[in-house]
């Protein structure tokens, strides 16, 4: 290009800037949320914009505050378990496990091996449902609606499986202090394997739809970055931290339950951007499937819920017999219980519950059939009795779907928790959220926020 021409273009640009300077420009405040389709529940971002670029971002939380920690102090230890379902309601089983493990640590209870395996299986299934929801929803927000439908379909497979085990889809309350509500139903392993195959297939489809999709990559790659140092200083954990390249995973670094016996990888990203978080979540699902498959192979066999020899009798009948003192044969028979208690009979109980009489409810045969069982049952459920861990305090961390989920429990020796503190993984990520959106445009907030996987229930408690 000729120098004169260059001068000319320079001159044109100068005029343009001068004109722009003459125009009045000012920063704009934009209120995003709390009622906004991409804000996943309720959160409010107050943005300061220069054109379309975010200059400042302030996060307001608390719209879903339900006084979780206060309510925990009001009821017994077992009554906290249903509240924990409502923390991260996309993967409630992990919350159940974390809370029960913290109380068990106070007691010094060692759970049975089969119970540990079932807890791991259910936690990992929950992790997959959580990641499916997160990836599906954030893909939908950038326009890939098909992916959302596919992933919700896969999530449905798993939730049906969870429903068969726990009796509920979302508010499952499956674990108990010292064990589980009940054993796995008959034929669980085969069903689980086929469902996981279906999930794998869906994930393959999603990979072909997204991973090399130009539109998706343009919206995700290099956007919403956070550095390793910042992530650690903000105490960010889970896939959000691992996408920056730090391989911190509670399951690997402070193994609990039986995670140290399992062979799985901790996927890490490189750039800490949205695309890495997507890839980390996709790979974690695969690793979770591997974990579940190993557990199904290694798990010590337990009895199935069906009594093959026809020794099952209805619970009311059992109570009548016991009232008349005909208890001789009752130790041999199995109670037919309500479907919600299925798998909670004696044969299953011994496999999934510890021997700790201070903490676990007796099997239904004993509750209905003999006075010791009835007394034990009442001592644990009656007002003013309940389970009483020794005085003390403890912290138990588990790897939630979003990161380290910690329970700090203080016991004063009574039947109610003195203090239950939850360390919610979302909380720290949201505190660091302004770092990931300042300097990017408003439209970039949508995929970045999607990759946070904010769950209001655990964020605001």
């Amino acid at each position: 290009m000729d120098i004169t021409e260059l001068n000319k273009t320079e001159g044109v640009r100068d005029t343009a800037t001068r004109e722009a300077d003459a125009l009045e420009t000012k920063e704009m405040m934009l209120n995003m949320g709390p009622s906004h389709p991409a804000m996943h529940g309720i959160i409010r971002l107050i943005l300061k914009l220069d054109g379309e670029v975010v200059k400042d971002c302030e996060v307001h939380i608390g719209y879903l505050h339900r006084a979780f920690e206060k309510m925990c102090e009001e009821g017994g230890y077992l009554q906290v378990i249903p509240y924990t379902d409502r923390l991260n309601y996309v993967s409630p089983l992990i919350n159940n496990v974390g809370y029960c493990m913290a109380v068990e640590k106070l007691f010094g209870i060692k759970t049975t091996e089969r119970c540990d395996y079932i807890r791991v299986i259910m936690s990992e299934l929950s992790r997959i449902t959580d990641h499916l929801t997160c990836v599906g929803a954030s893909a939908m927000e950038v326009g890939a609606f098909t992916v959302f439908l596919y992933m919700i379909k896969a999530r449905e497979y798993l939730w049906e499986l969870i429903e068969e085990v726990t009796g509920a889809r979302l508010t499952i309350s499956y674990t108990r202090v010292g064990g589980l509500k009940s054993d796995l139903p008959a034929g669980f392993a085969e069903k689980c394997r086929t469902r996981l195959k279906e999930v794998r297939k869906v994930n393959q489809e999603v990979h072909t739809l997204l991973t090399k999709n130009r539109i998706f990559i343009d919206r995700m790659k290099g956007i919403g970055t956070i550095s390793q140092e910042d992530a650690v200083a903000y105490s960010v954990t889970g896939p959000f931290l691992r996408a920056t390249g730090v391989d911190y995973d509670v399951r690997k670094d402070n193994p609990y339950l039986i995670y140290n016996r399992l062979d799985f990888d901790v996927p890490v990203g490189e750039y800490g951007d949205n695309f890495d978080r997507y890839l980390v979540r996709m790979e974690e699902m695969e690793q979770s499937i591997r974990i579940v498959e190993q557990c199904l192979d290694q798990m010590p066999k337990g009895p199935v819920a069906v009594d093959m020899e026809g020794r099952a009798i209805p619970a009311e009948f059992m109570v009548d017999e016991a009232k008349m003192g005909r208890t001789g044969g009752l130790l041999e028979v199995q109670a037919v219980v309500d479907p919600t208690l299925e798998g909670g009979t004696r044969a299953n109980f011994n496999a999934v519950q510890t021997e700790e009489k201070r903490a676990i409810l007796p099997p239904k045969e004993d509750t209905y059939g003999n006075i010791e069982g009835l007394m034990q049952h009442f001592k644990l459920v009656m007002y003013g009795h309940g389970i009483r861990p020794p005085k003390g305090d403890t912290y138990q961390a588990v790897e939630g779907a979003n990161g380290e989920l910690g329970f700090y429990i203080v016991s004063d020796g009574t039947d109610r928790p003195y203090r239950v503190r939850v360390r919610p993984p979302c909380f720290t990520i949201l505190a660091a959220f302004p770092l990931t959106c300042i300097g990017w445009t408003v439209s970039d907030i949508i995929p970045t926020f999607g990759s946070v996987n904010m769950i209001g229930g655990e964020l605001d408690r």
Binding site: I61, G62, H65, A67, E69, K70, M71, E73, E74, K105, L106, G108, V232, A233, Y234, S235, V246, Y248, D253, N254, P255, Y256, G392, D393, T394, Y395, Q396, A397, E404, G406, Y408, V410, D412, Y418, R419, R421, R423, F427, T428, L430, A431, A432, D460, R461
Partner: protein, 181 residues
């Protein structure tokens, strides 16, 4: 509480298995800050230290930066109201630290009295302390001196009282607030 870890069977309960590191970090802390670290112990397998309120930032900075402790992450920060347990002083603030490199945890407690509920802020040491401290202020009414913007986080502006204090009634109804314009 003593400086040597008790060899009770409870030690084995913790999920953390690096118990051989235990005396090192805790004894180091005691020797480095004699007089400021009030006590150290192993509590159900968790390492625990109780420190004087005024020296919290200094001790935390040391714990973060020293190669032998390397607590780069403030995993959690919360408080407990000891009113119904009869604790004197009434509150304590509890910090949970984690080291990603050395894979160990430490719980640090510091007592806070009802008359002067203020603790030095840790925002300069870990930025995440900003939100954690706001939550403690919101829930317990414990102030953090040096905090840049100490305001409520889960409750709304205009909320009266601090709900996680034990003398806050669980069924207390707040006065209605109208829309702010």
């Amino acid at each position: 509480m003593s400086s040597t870890p008790p060899s009770s069977p409870l030690d084995k309960l913790g999920a953390v298995s690096q118990s051989e590191l235990l005396p090192e970090v805790l004894t180091l802390l005691e020797s480095q800050f004699s007089g400021k670290v009030l006590s150290v112990c192993v509590n159900l397998g968790d390492w625990e230290a109780s420190v004087a309120k005024g020296s919290v930032p200094e001790i935390m900075r040391f714990l973060r930066d020293d190669k032998r402790t390397d607590f780069k992450m403030l995993a959690d920060l919360s408080a407990v109201d000891g009113l119904k347990m009869g604790l004197v002083p009434r509150f304590y603030v509890v910090y949970h630290l984690y080291s990603i490199k050395l894979k160990h945890r430490l719980r640090v407690k510091t007592n806070v009295s009802e008359e002067d509920p203020a603790v030095p802020s840790l925002v300069d040491v870990w930025p995440i302390a900003n939100w954690f401290e706001r939550e403690v202020w919101d829930m317990f009414g414990i102030r953090f001196t040096g905090h840049p913007d100490l305001k409520r986080i889960l409750m709304y502006e205009g909320f009266q009282g601090h709900p996680l204090r034990k003398d806050y009634p669980v069924n207390y109804r707040q006065p209605l607030i109208g829309p702010r314009n």
